[in-house]
């Protein structure tokens, strides 16, 4: 058997599964979003579903909200993760424990984290109770809304909780393989602590931070269950909106749901590309 045949045979099952399920799903979604479905007699594609989606003001609010959640969560998580990794590469008393908790946290499903955040930050949650204990508030409604709120604070807190360990573990592995020699050279040549970090270490760990952040951004942009538990009803995030119109009793809304799914896929691809370009430029300047 030639290498070529061998490679094709080895790859065939995986390409078949991903090809039919993933790309098949994507293509069918695109076709249905254009109202094109020859099997059920729809042979003339049109843009009705997209017109309906783009005519709805909720869609734009929803997009802004989803972008705000993904962007804010990713940036804050990445910054805290780098700081945490800097802390974790030194020897200090809690290092083993934090390392363990980082990994423990990685295994906890997002849904559980979302419920935990709900019980902590809701208006009758743990922090509201603490505030009542300290006589800062008298009734639940006095506590600032941090879940089901228009700024999506609860959702962002949940993502930070989950993604700091994710980015942190990757950055830490990166730092450990780089070692501290380069920074030591920088310091001996007169660089300050900050300069050694900014001009020596940061450029070295940046590719790792970037690839982890892109995964986080993509996930937070497309996730459903976290905004479903912690998010406000209006505006809802794009994935929640898409799921809602897909499961609408009115089956006519389905092409609109498909159109939204296509928009989510395209938007996440575009924004990941922009994110990568912008941050690469930022680091050079």
């Amino acid at each position: 058997m030639s290498d070529r045949t061998r490679i094709v045979l080895l790859l065939l099952p995986a390409l078949l599964v991903i090809g039919t399920l993933f790309f098949g799903g994507l293509i069918i979604g695109v076709m249905r979003s254009f109202n094109y479905m020859p099997v059920i007699g729809l042979t003339k594609p049109n843009l009705d579903a997209y017109r309906a989606v783009f005519a709805d003001p909720e869609f734009y609010w929803s997009f802004l909200l989803t972008f705000h959640i993904a962007f804010t969560s990713t940036v804050i998580s990445a910054v805290i993760a780098i700081a945490a990794a800097l802390l974790l590469r030194r020897t200090f008393f809690g290092r083993g424990l934090i390392n363990f908790l980082f990994q423990l946290n990685l295994t906890v499903p997002h849904l559980v984290g979302a419920i935990g955040i709900l019980y902590l930050f809701s208006q009758s949650g743990t922090f509201a109770r603490l505030a009542a204990e300290l006589n800062l508030i008298t009734k639940p409604a006095d506590f600032p809304a941090m879940v089901f709120d228009p700024y999506a604070i609860g959702i962002i807190l949940q993502y930070i909780w989950k993604e700091v360990p994710f980015i942190g573990v990757i950055v830490l592995a990166n730092m450990q393989s780089i070692g501290q020699d380069y920074e030591a050279v920088g310091r001996s040549l007169g660089a300050s602590r900050w300069q050694a970090f900014r001009y020596v270490l940061l450029p070295l760990i940046f590719p790792g931070v970037l690839s982890a952040s892109v995964m986080v951004f993509a996930f937070t942009f497309g996730a459903y269950e976290i905004p479903a538990v912690l998010g406000a009803n209006y505006p809802a995030t794009l994935p929640v909106l898409a799921y809602r119109s897909y499961t609408d009793v009115d089956l006519a809304a389905r092409p609109e749901a498909m159109a939204m799914a296509v928009v989510i896929a395209i938007l996440s691809a575009i924004m990941i590309a922009i994110y990568i370009r912008a941050t690469r430029r930022g680091i050079r300047g």
């Binding site: 993933f22 200090f92 499903p109 849904l111 935990g116 509201a128 990757i170 989510i264 691809a269």
Partner: protein, 273 residues
């Protein structure tokens, strides 16, 4: 390395403590709720403790245990299929250089970046026609979308450090292809299969929206049950189910603690959890 000034050391210590507290914090109310009987605002701790939620959760009638077995079954099926399909693909990507390799990698990695909901709606339309919606089989198949890329990635990493010359030596000494695979290849790639398999299990274990859509609410895995109870405001039962739900992850963490720390590629799969 020089000793740091006191100010910096105290800042490090305080941030370390804040980090530890923050990392465990969201799990604490869940654990307390599972043992609470009545815990009204503004009480800081439950007025009374009880095992009611646990009794209910672990009883045969509640359906939580059925859900638990079903979730395990689906995750095991998705894992086994991912191993069977992902190991050969990983071998091709790890061992060979070929034309179009970049494209193949992109195709296999695409599901990691594109949000699940964007493809799940289309798959649902296809599965309706095939009678796969609302079935366990359909849910297992759709779970392959997040688990397979990850399994393939881990195995490609393993095969990149693998020397196929051992196989040729075994063959030249008269071993059959099957014997060679069993006694030479498999032992060498076993660590990758175990780590990749355990993480594929966790990725399937954590799926919510794919199961909800393709299972149509009929295939009730633990996360669906959890979501129902949190929506209906039964915090005590939610707490108990959440504790059961995070258990496999903790077990897997203990089993794989060594492999996890140094291998960022293996950790990457958790992004989907």
């Amino acid at each position: 390395m020089q000793r740091e000034p006191l100010a910096i050391r105290s800042i490090q210590m305080i941030s370390g403590i804040v980090l530890i507290v923050w990392l465990v914090l969201p799990l604490i109310p869940l654990a307390i709720w599972s043992f609470a009987r009545g815990w009204r605002f503004p009480a800081l701790l439950p007025q009374a403790w009880s095992l009611t939620a646990w009794d209910y959760t672990l009883s045969d009638t509640a359906g939580v245990l059925d859900s638990l077995w079903l979730t395990i079954w689906i995750a095991v099926c998705a894992t086994v299929l991912s191993i069977l399909i992902g190991v050969p693909a990983g071998r091709a990507l790890g061992l060979y250089k070929f034309r179009g390799k970049g494209l193949v990698e992109l195709i296999i990695l695409a599901p990691v970046i594109v949000p699940g909901i964007a493809v799940a709606l289309g798959i649902h339309s296809v599965f309706i026609g095939m009678g796969l919606t609302n079935t366990v089989t359909g849910v297992v198949l759709v779970h392959l979308i997040p688990t397979l890329p990850y399994m393939t990635l881990v195995m490609a990493g393993i095969f990149a450090n693998y020397d196929p010359a051992f196989e040729q030596q075994a063959r030249s000494l008269g071993a059959s292809p099957l014997r060679t695979f069993w006694h030479v290849t498999l032992p060498a790639i076993m660590p990758g299969i175990i780590v990749g398999g355990l993480f594929a299990f966790l990725v399937s274990w954590s799926q919510y929206v794919l199961t909800l859509l393709i299972g149509g609410g009929r295939v009730v895995t633990l996360p669906l049950l959890l979501f129902n109870f949190v929506s209906s405001g039964r915090n005590d039962i939610t707490g108990a189910i959440a504790m059961i739900y995070i258990l496999p992850g903790i077990l897997i963490l203990i089993l794989t603690a060594k492999q996890l720390s140094g291998r960022s590629g293996a950790v990457g799969g958790f992004g989907r959890v």
